[in-house]
Amino acid sequence: MKSLYNRKWILLLLPFFLLSGCADDLDEELFGVLSPENYYKTEDQALSSVVGVYQRMSGFANYNNAWRSQELGTDEFIVVGRASGGWFSGGSYLEFVTHDVSSENGKNGDAWDEVFGVIGAANAVLQSIEESPEAENLSGPIAEVKALRAYAYFYAMDFWGNVPIVTDARIDQNNLPETSSRSEVFDFVVSEMLSAAVNLPSITEVDRAAYYPRFTKESIYAALATVYLNGEVYSGTEHWNDALEMSNKVINSNGYILEPNFIDNFTGDNYNSKELISSFSIDPSVNAGKNNYVRGALHPLHKLVYNLPFTPANGYNTFEKAFDRYDVNDIRRNYILHGPQTYLNDDPLIDPNGIQLDLIPIGEDPIAALDNEGFRVLKYVPDGQWVGRDANNDVVLMRYSDVLLTKAESLFRIGGGNSTEALGLVNDVRSRSNADPLTALSLQDIEDERSRELLWEGSRRRDMIRFGTFFTGRWKFHTSDTPESRGIYPIPSVQISSNPKLVQNPGY
């Protein structure tokens, strides 16, 4: 008995030897996490990453900071702190409004993250796909991602001017990227867009419905038209002819029309619009993006008008000045809510105290504005298809009317102010919205028409800078000139901290 037990310790040691064999088993199991080696075998798989870049980029046209940064500080958009609470955000919006954005402004920092997040995602996807064994068969997705990256660089150049150009997925920590000048970034954007466009399909070559909303050749040409239109701002050299050429490429594709109804570009089924050149798909019902403009812009009482299942947040406003640009019979004017408010059947919209809601111009206090201050833009009209607080209207980045106006401006500037073709183009856009045709054209007319047509579509800041009115114009809270250096936002301090090679923009 005893001897038996004396040997039993050997049994106890047995697992020791057995498990010692596991010593090499220190590989990590992945459990559903993918790696580049086992993914990107088909074009569909590559596309799953490409659409990830689109999704990140949709903030350029949606409710996010990249969009707000295109509109804040102009005469058509303001976010005011409400006396009832909300939107003061520590004064960070106000800094934009007064052209005094500090390098520590959180909204500016978020915008940087959004824009460079797209570039970073594009670089990572590009590298992963290019390293895939199937890379040769994936030239389409590769070109598409390069086009998106160039588009994002266009935004970076527009906002911060002098930014680092990075095309590697992974930054060498010991060789951090240096700031490139705005004109170098301009050259980069142009050449990348031009080469990417070669490999993208034309809108005329694809099954429009099935391909929507992926970018086409014309999406890039239209972007290039805008880049060239502002070419002097970016590079110091005029590029009116290039802008004209690119506009023509879009127009000559015959892939686009001015939709007879202006508002069809923004409704819940705007994906059918043949005017949209670049847009991002939205469908909250399947958790594929959400459109929050109604929530951001409307007054809480509008909940009753549009039968909204939520209370709007009362944040985004436009100035009286922007509203006053429209003729009374201009259809586009109808999409600015102002003055006494009614139900859709024209019954007055009454608040709980029995007073009809009257939207008045923004007052003198941008920190504690009353709830009914500010006119509201309602292009993305509610169609009742709500999923929670989210609407399903696709968000628009670039429309055909923009290209027409770009061509008009290019012609006008090339021709030294003498262009009947330009006048015709502008009137085409105007007449679609029942605005009286102009009989003659001036730069001011072109600037104003762009404001009317592209209100809240992310174009106004670029336009005002190009026309100079951003610095010298006068509107509420902009009562004196601002220096030209304020045409570029500061590089967020956090970015300089993580990459000391970045150089802060002049004037900050």
Partner: protein
């Protein structure tokens, strides 16, 4: 006459080394006393007793022979008439053993060199004994003390207590005095005064020499320890407060800094042993429960259930240590220096906390029941404007006023008196072969904020069984628990106006609003400012945490001195978190109610085999050798899911019927595993009990690192010199024990999460439509870093342990220096990049400091005992470098500021500065309504204290006892981010502000700015705990043992200049589950607690 002659030289046995020992009991009846034994054995000769046992006097002499160099000669059968004596596991001075044994015995010693002859003398016990005293002897916890000696003073008349602590003694005089003694306890004298029944409670003597402490993989006598460790026993824990392992240690251990992150019931603590070594990897110590290291990775994952900057839900991680009932804890040992922690290798760098649960004691069934109940109130409210003041200010500023006519103090509406209850029942007992203990605990604790409460149910089972004369021993322990918590929606990372939570709204909500309108609905202001009371009623957030820690340890004594142990362990922690926002609440409005259901689980399997060798070697047993070698395999699995859904037709569905939702907002699902394989060994060697040496080596292989870096080697060595055991050390010295310690070693840190060394792609919940079809989005998540390797901490420690005045005072002093290199640093990747951070081994951090503990019995007499101890620690932290060959930087921003409009970070990590350095604008005053600053950012404070201290006192007067514990911190700065967010008038009139902001001279346009204006001195001293108790006398016939009642008060007061709620706070402003140091932002308020309770045993 048959003479028994023994001499260890020729009867030598291979003596078992008896290192695993508890305290020691030795008992005997007593009569005459004829010699002074202290001149028999050399001063430091000790005898080790390896287990509790009942032995004959003959066997006692066997022990003495085996372990000393003496021989004894006596007539066989000399001791046959004497009862067996009880020896308790432990170590005793040979002289003490001999003296106790012969105390009052009628024997004569004939000492010739090292040979001792023993013969009988005539009994002197002839006087008439006429009065009988009986009773029970127990320790301060009411645990009966079997084998305590009770002697009538001035006589040789005495008895010992039986197994249940009972005694009965016939004394000569009704007015005589009893002297009660028991090793490890202070000797007590009690006047009989004609009482027939006297209950005696003995108080442990301070700094007992023979204390056994738990170290990694085993136990050691405290006097043999060469590393820096601190331990607490169950006697050190306050009664009646529902405290977890971490809080039990608060203020009691030098070098161990523990601070509650907030006042939330069952909230988490920040525990730092000798400062923080790491920046991005975890700084939490390793917790080892009954030999099984546990993972604390799940709790952080479950913390965040909302999204983005709008997260109003509670984000404090569940504290996994709440799963262990403090009533079940036998001891807590903190391993601090590399010598002590190196046995845990790659997980030892932040220190190791070893928790041992109670096991059964030999004896009849003992039932222990305790119950307490108490209440807590919020310790401080913020000074917010009253409704009238608010109305006046808004009018004064000419702002639109929304006065609803009510006068509501919202803080009063959400703060409440929280009731608590606590019940514990344990059964224990056992015989020679088996011992058992089982316990059941249940407690409920209501928070001081309405809607928050926690209930904990714990069970524990411990079974020890020995077979084959103790050769094979099994030790099974299981601790399981269920923690059910209801959380108030209070978070620390809400930003700007679009973020809000219950506590924030209690500060800012318009005080002219009534709680409910005429129709009984909650009044609401807007979606940015939500009725604080409605949170508690319309937002539900519950978490259920289930845990199981179990292990079976089997020890087989192969052949002396070799034994083998196999330890099989399993741990499981499962956290369910469910929340629901009702449709009507502005936060759930329009979305049709939002349900969130998530589950995070972590389990681990442990297999360990340890070979152990323990022996004395050499002619005089001068060499003691104790060695272990082992293999360990531990595999951890983390898995879980989260579903967020909205659009419910009825609020009744909540999270229980997600199919009723019309939209699934978010689904995430994950599983990861990691494996740690280790080989380890340790040698403890001692020569003549004077020179002690410990060498440890552990090799760890971790699946978390890249191919070439999976294995790490962690060596350590330490030496100690017991100066007081040297011959030259004067015997009659006020210093009776003095030990110098020196150690150096390398430990590691691998707490970086899984899958960090490879490139991964992951799917996201949000898809994208192309051609009307939804496509899944897959994007790269992180880049491979195959070079990732262990973070290493090299630590040097110089220590001094001493005892003065015959053990009445003790002290420990340590100086240490820790250098952590190859820092696992999450580098902010410069944009553009798809990832914002990247983990790499970069740079070096240094911690150095001193720790000093001094304690003892200040007063100790028959009726009154006052013992006290104090500890003080100072740690200096410095970042040495943040660069390596492939990366260099001078600064890393840290400590997120969630409030929109502010610079995003509050702290700077930079070489030359310490971690926790606040960095920003220096505020110089207010001029013309604007804040003025010095140009440029600069260092404006530091969250790390200059030193921390604790001061613990215990008083005993007759049956009354009182203990209290102060602790504090000096020189630490706190960023009062709550005040920053409540002080700028720009938030008026929609939100209320602090009274201090009214006349601060600032214009309403002043931009909210992070600056030194909001950094405050957070030094404090806190009366942490005060307990007063009374132990009743009971008759010896009674089944009851020392019933006791007590009252406990916690956080009675705090003295500080800090203007916020409490300076001891770490708000998780990042929402990531790990709080930066020293930021106070909407922390769940601290409370004062009072509870009363009682304990009975039978």
């Amino acid at each position: 006459m048959k003479i028994k002659f023994t001499n260890h030289l020729f009867l030598k046995r291979i003596g078992l080394l008896k290192f695993m020992m508890g305290t020691f009991v030795f008992l005997l009846c007593s009569t005459a006393f004829g010699f002074n034994s202290s001149n028999l054995f050399s001063k430091n000769t000790k005898v080790h007793i390896d287990k509790d046992q009942l032995v004959s006097i003959d066997e006692v002499f066997d022990l003495l022979r085996d372990q000393t160099d003496y021989s004894f000669i006596y007539q066989e059968g000399l001791f046959n008439d004497l009862p067996k004596v009880k020896l308790k596991k432990g170590t005793i001075l040979a002289n003490k053993l001999f003296e106790t044994y012969f105390f009052g015995k009628d024997f004569k010693l004939d000492i010739k060199g090292k040979i001792v002859g023993i013969s009988a003398t005539m009994s002197s016990n002839t006087t008439q004994q006429k009065f009988t005293v009986s009773g029970i002897v127990s320790d301060s916890n009411g645990q009966p003390l079997p084998g305590a000696s009770i002697v009538e003073k001035g006589t040789s008349n005495g008895v010992m207590t039986d197994f249940d602590g009972n005694y009965s003694l016939k004394v000569f005089e009704e007015n005589s005095t009893l002297v009660i003694s028991y090793i490890g306890f202070a000797t007590q004298e009690v006047m009989v005064k004609g009482q027939a029944n006297i209950t005696i409670t003995l108080i442990e003597s301070a700094g007992a020499l023979n204390e056994i402490v738990v170290v990694g993989y085993g136990t050691q006598r405290k006097e043999d320890v060469t590393g820096s460790i601190t331990s607490l026993g169950s006697d050190d824990f306050p009664e009646g407060s529902q405290q977890n392992v971490q809080q039990l240690m608060e203020g009691k251990m030098a070098g161990v800094s523990i601070s509650k992150n907030s006042g939330k019931p069952g909230g988490s603590n920040t525990v730092r042993i000798r400062g923080g070594t790491s920046i991005s990897a975890s700084n939490d110590p390793l917790y080892v429960i009954d030999g099984v290291p546990i993972s604390t990775s799940s709790p952080a994952r479950q913390a965040n259930i909302g999204s983005g900057g709008n997260n109003y839900f509670d984000q404090e991680p569940v504290n996994p240590l709440n799963s262990i009932n403090s009533n079940d804890i036998e001891s807590i040992t903190v391993l601090k220096d590399a010598s002590a922690t190196a046995i845990y290798g790659s997980r030892g760098a932040n220190g190791v906390i070893v928790v041992t649960t109670k096991m059964g004691h030999k004896g009849k069934l003992t039932t222990d029941f305790s119950a307490s109940t108490g209440f807590s109130t919020v310790s401080k409210k913020l000074d917010i404007l009253s409704a009238d003041e608010y109305v006046n200010l808004v009018n004064e500023l000419g702002l639109p006023l929304d006065d609803q006519g009510a006068r509501t103090n919202w803080q009063d509406e959400i703060f409440t008196t929280g009731l608590s209850q606590d019940y514990n029942l344990s059964l224990s007992g056992g015989g020679d072969a088996s011992r058992y203990r089982g316990s059941l605990g249940h407690s409920t604790l209501e928070g001081v904020v309405i809607g928050s409460e926690q209930s904990i149910t714990t069970t524990s089972i411990g079974i020890n069984h020995e077979v084959f004369d103790g050769k094979l021993a099994f030790d099974l322990r299981m601790n399981s628990s269920l923690i059910e918590a209801s959380n108030a929606p209070i978070s620390n990372n809400i930003g700007g106006e679009n973020g809000t939570n219950m506590l924030f709204d209690a500060y800012v909500f318009n005080p002219t609003y009534p709680i409910r309108d005429e129709s009984g609905n909650f009044t609401q202001y807007s979606q940015f400012t939500v009725n604080p009371v409605s949170y508690a009623n319309e937002i539900e957030d519950e978490s259920n945490t289930r845990s199981l820690f179990g292990n079976l340890s089997t020890t087989y004594k192969i052949i002396k001195p070799l034994s083998v142990n196999v330890n099989l362990g399993y741990t499981h922690l499962d956290i369910q978190r469910n929340s629901y926002i009702q449709k009507l609440n502005p936060l759930g409005e329009g979305v049709g109610g939002i349900a969130n259901k998530q589950n995070t689980g972590n389990s681990s399997k442990l297999f360990e085999t340890t070979l152990r060798y323990q022996d004395f070697i050499g002619l005089d047993n001068d060499h003691s050798l104790n060695a272990i070698a082992g293999y360990s395999y531990q595999n951890f699995t983390d898995e879980g899911y989260r579903i967020s859904a909205s659009g419910f037709i009825s609020d009744e569905f909540k999270w229980n019927s997600l199919q009723a939702a019309n939209t699934v907002n978010n689904v995430s699902d994950y599983k990861t595993t990691n494996t740690l394989i280790s080989y380890y060994g340790r040698i403890n060697y001692a020569f003549k009990n004077r020179y002690l040496l410990t060498a440890t080596l552990r090799q760890d292989g971790s699946s978390r690192f890249g191919d070439g870096n999976k294995w790490g080697t962690f060596p350590s060595g330490s030496v100690a010199w017991r100066v007081s055991n040297e011959n030259f050390f004067p015997e009659e010295n006020f210093i009776n024990d003095l030990k110098l310690r020196l150690s150096y070693g390398v430990t590691g840190n691998q707490e970086i999460g899984n899958l960090n060394s490879i490139t991964t792609l992951g799917a996201s919940t949000t898809g994208y439509l192309v051609g009307g079809n939804r496509l899944t989005v897959v994007l790269p998540q992180q880049y491979a870093n195959p070079n990732l390797q262990w973070e290493e901490t090299a630590q040097f420690d110089l220590g001094l342990d001493f005892q003065l005045f015959k053990g009445r005072m003790f002290g420990v002093f340590d100086y240490y220096k820790k250098n952590t290199s190859n820092l696992l640093l999450s580098i902010l990747v410069p944009s553009p990049s798809v990832v914002s951070t990247q983990l790499a081994n970069v740079g070096e951090v240094q911690n150095s400091g001193i720790e000093f503990t001094l304690g003892g019995d200040i007063i100790k007499n028959q009726n009154f005992i006052w013992s006290a101890n104090a500890n003080i620690s100072s740690n200096k932290n410095e970042v040495i470098s943040l660069s390596n060959e492939s990366f260099s930087t001078d600064e890393i921003l840290y400590g997120e500021l969630p409030s929109t409009g502010l610079t995003p970070y509050s702290q700077l990590i930079s070489p030359g500065l310490s971690l926790g350095t606040f960095y920003g604008l220096k505020f110089t005053g207010i001029e013309n309504g604007e804040e003025q600053f010095e140009d440029g950012n600069q260092v404006i404070g530091n969250a790390m204290p200059d030193f921390t201290f604790g001061f613990n006192n215990t008083f005993g007067y007759k049956n009354l006892d009182l203990s209290f514990n102060f602790r504090g911190s000096v020189g630490n700065d706190v960023l009062n981010l709550t005040a920053l967010n409540l002080s700028y008038k720009g938030i008026l009139p929609a939100k209320n502000i602090l009274r201090s902001a009214v006349n601060d001279g600032l214009d309403r346009q002043q931009r909210k700015t992070y600056s030194s204006r909001w950094i405050e001195d957070g030094s404090f001293i806190r009366l942490n705990n005060l307990t007063m108790g009374y132990t009743f006398n009971v008759s010896s016939e009674s089944a009851l043992i020392a019933p006791r009642i007590y009252v406990t008060m916690e956080n009675l007061f705090v003295i500080t200049n800090y203007s916020g709620q409490d300076p001891e706070v770490n708000s998780d402003t990042s929402g990531g589950g790990v709080a930066p140091l020293g930021i106070d932002y909407l922390a769940y308020p601290r409370s004062k607690n009072i509870s009363i309770g009682g304990r009975i045993k039978f």
